[in-house]
């Protein structure tokens, strides 16, 4: 397993190189001037000499390949540059916000997996039944619905109409300190919406997996032996039906990041995804480049997790052969 992880880490190096190179190439092709972006409104009143000095300092005149290499080497020493919009080192921005994003994603994903298994299994028990049709239709509709739209409607319903949950933020506006109780209260809506956006995929795959497993010979054999239906469902069908789905969990990281990006920005959740939008609005290249790289790393880690889970749960797969 360690060897597989090591090999995957090696494979990740060229991927990160290609992605960061692409990011720098796009920035080089952009009409946006990094000097003006750095100086902001101050650039309007500054004389040409100051601007030239700033340009020299930023290295904006060098070709993007040189800047890319410079960025890579300093990234290895832990220096990701300076965020122009937040006026902080990029590493600090990421460090402060990563926890909140991770918390949101973890809770949402756990809810989606639990709820998705329940719904998928209950739908698969009787394919074609009213319950099955209701669950499947709902899953397809939710899958087609934009997550930010669901988030807004959820705000309207829970925060405005019923007034049971806060509409956004991490804590109440009056409170100066971050307490676990407040965070939990403010987490319910964003995590719920993010879970709902991941739910359809999971439900549909569990339903298909369990329905397929229920039609196979071992299940028929178990039923013929007079095994209780619940045991058949949970111990036979669910075990073999859930296996392919579990291994896919790791590959859902891109969708989770996409969902988090939109959910965080609706709920003003102080996570890393919301910072991405802020950075993009202000064309904060250092922050955007770091966040893109970070997301790529997360996706690669997810792929590794998928492989490891596959090997752990499926005895037919030997990790050493992957």
């Amino acid at each position: 397993m360690a060897r597989l992880a090591g090999r995957r880490a090696l494979f990740a190096v060229p991927v990160v190189l290609v992605v960061t190179f692409g990011v720098f190439a796009i920035a080089a092709a952009s009409p946006f001037d990094p000097v003006k972006g750095y100086a902001g409104t101050a650039a309007l009143g500054a004389d040409q000499e100051t601007l030239d000095r700033l340009r020299d300092n930023l290295g904006a005149d060098q070709s993007f390949v040189v800047r890319w290499w410079h960025w890579l080497t300093s990234a290895l020493t832990g220096d990701l540059g300076h965020s122009t919009v937040l006026r902080q080192p990029v590493t600090q921005v990421i460090g402060e916000r990563l926890v909140w994003s991770a918390l949101l994603c973890a809770v949402a994903f756990a809810v989606a997996v639990t709820l998705g298994t329940l719904l998928g299994v209950s739908a698969a028990r009787r394919p074609g039944s009213t319950l099955d049709r209701a669950v499947t239709s709902l899953a397809y509709t939710l899958e087609a619905a934009p997550v930010f739209w669901i988030a807004l409607l959820a705000v309207w319903l829970f925060a405005l109409q019923w007034d049971v949950l806060p509409a956004g933020g991490l804590t109440d506006t009056a409170s100066a300190r971050v307490t676990p109780g407040q965070v939990a209260g403010h987490l319910v809506l964003p995590a719920g919406v993010l879970a709902v956006s991941q739910l359809p995929w999971f439900t549909l795959y569990v339903r298909q997996g369990v329905a397929d497993a229920l039609a196979e010979d071992p299940v028929r054999g178990a039923r013929a032996r007079g095994v209780r239906e619940r045991t058949v469902l949970v111990q036979h069908a669910l075990r073999s039906g859930l296996l392919p789905v579990l291994t896919l969990i790791g590959s859902r990281v891109p969708e989770l990041i996409t969902g988090a990006l939109l959910v965080e920005s609706v709920f003003s959740w102080p996570g890393i995804a919301a910072a991405t939008v802020e950075a993009a609005t202000a064309v904060d290249f250092p922050l955007l480049a770091a966040l893109t790289t970070l997301a790529t790393a997360a996706v690669l880690a997810g792929n590794l997790l998928a492989d490891l889970l596959y090997g752990l749960f499926d005895p037919r797969v030997k990790l050493s052969e992957m």
């Binding site: 990011v23 899958e143 934009p146 739209w149 990041i257 939008v277």
Partner: protein, 295 residues
């Protein structure tokens, strides 16, 4: 969403022998009717109904859905049904443009890799793999941030993130076509590599590429509305469905739900219709895969 639009969950749609032929036909017809209605509304309403979607009527602002305005009005009294139809028009246009661009790029890259083979193929596909590791929306946000504002940056950002899957599909198809006898015949007949690719390989790939393009349209629409919603997409004077939802945030916090609800429904309906048609289409061309789950 990504799976649905890419048609990957298309086969989950059908349950295992649980539903009859009639249900399937019904779904196919519903999808076809909904999609036709959407396209007709988008094409015909603007030239036929000479109503100005921008017509401001402050006396009728934020009216709830009713007889005069079936979807209600927004915060300056514009009719939301009309705004939604126009928004759908913009979204659909951007979606189609992005899907076409992505398909052309993806087909070119995939066909080149597949036809040339060897180290070119390996190199190109490694780059495709690497670029697929970046979440689409994040890459899209990055591209739009660097080139905004305007319609073309949005089209480019959606196209540049979506050609990867088409390239994979086309390459795989080209590789399988290359093993067929008629390609061997063309090669031994003295046809150049270019001629074999353009005259024999590409036509064989087109059906697959076209299916992928159609499936990409709702996905591209979704992407466009997400970008517009984040305030990074289309400028507000070419309001798309995403812009409408973004603009409605103020009224939503004041308790008016309709300016948010209806544009979202306008995204859901075409998406479901395309997914339904794609499922039926796949079933027709390959009935054996009916119960198979496509991963």
């Amino acid at each position: 969403m990504a799976d649905l639009a890419a048609g990957r969950t298309g086969t989950v749609w059908r349950s295992r022998g649980g539903e009859g032929r009639s249900t399937r036909t019904l779904r196919l017809r519903t999808s076809a009717v909904l999609l036709t209605a959407t396209v007709l509304a988008v094409l015909l309403v603007p030239p036929l109904v000479r109503l100005d979607q921008q017509a401001v009527d402050l006396a009728a602002k934020l009216e709830a859905p009713g007889w005069d305005h079936p979807f209600g009005t927004d915060d300056v009294g514009r009719d939301l049904l009309l705004r939604c139809v126009y928004g759908l028009r913009v979204s659909l246009l951007v979606g189609v443009a992005a899907a076409l661009t992505a398909t052309v790029v993806g087909t070119a890259v995939g066909a080149t890799a597949g036809a040339l083979g060897g180290w070119v193929d390996r190199g190109v596909m490694r780059v495709v793999d690497a670029l697929s590791s970046v979440p689409h929306l994040l890459m899209g946000v990055f591209i739009v941030a660097m080139f905004r504002p305007g319609v073309w940056p949005v089209v480019a950002s959606v196209a540049l993130t979506h050609w990867l899957s088409t390239a994979r599909i086309v390459r795989a198809e080209v590789l399988s076509l290359r093993a067929r006898p008629h390609i061997d015949a063309a090669v031994s007949g003295g046809a150049s590599r270019w001629r074999v690719t353009v005259r024999h390989l590409l036509p064989g790939v087109l059906p697959q590429a076209a299916t992928a393009a159609v499936l990409m349209v709702p996905h591209a629409m979704w992407h466009e509305s997400a970008l517009s919603f984040l305030g990074l997409g289309l400028p507000t004077h070419t309001a798309s469905l995403g812009n409408l939802i973004q603009e409605a945030r103020g009224s939503l916090l004041a308790g008016q739900w309709w300016p948010t609800l209806f544009p979202g429904l306008f995204i859901i309906v075409p998406t479901l219709a395309v997914a339904g048609l794609a499922g039926a289409w796949r079933e027709r061309i390959n009935p054996r895969r009916r119960s198979e789950l496509m991963l």
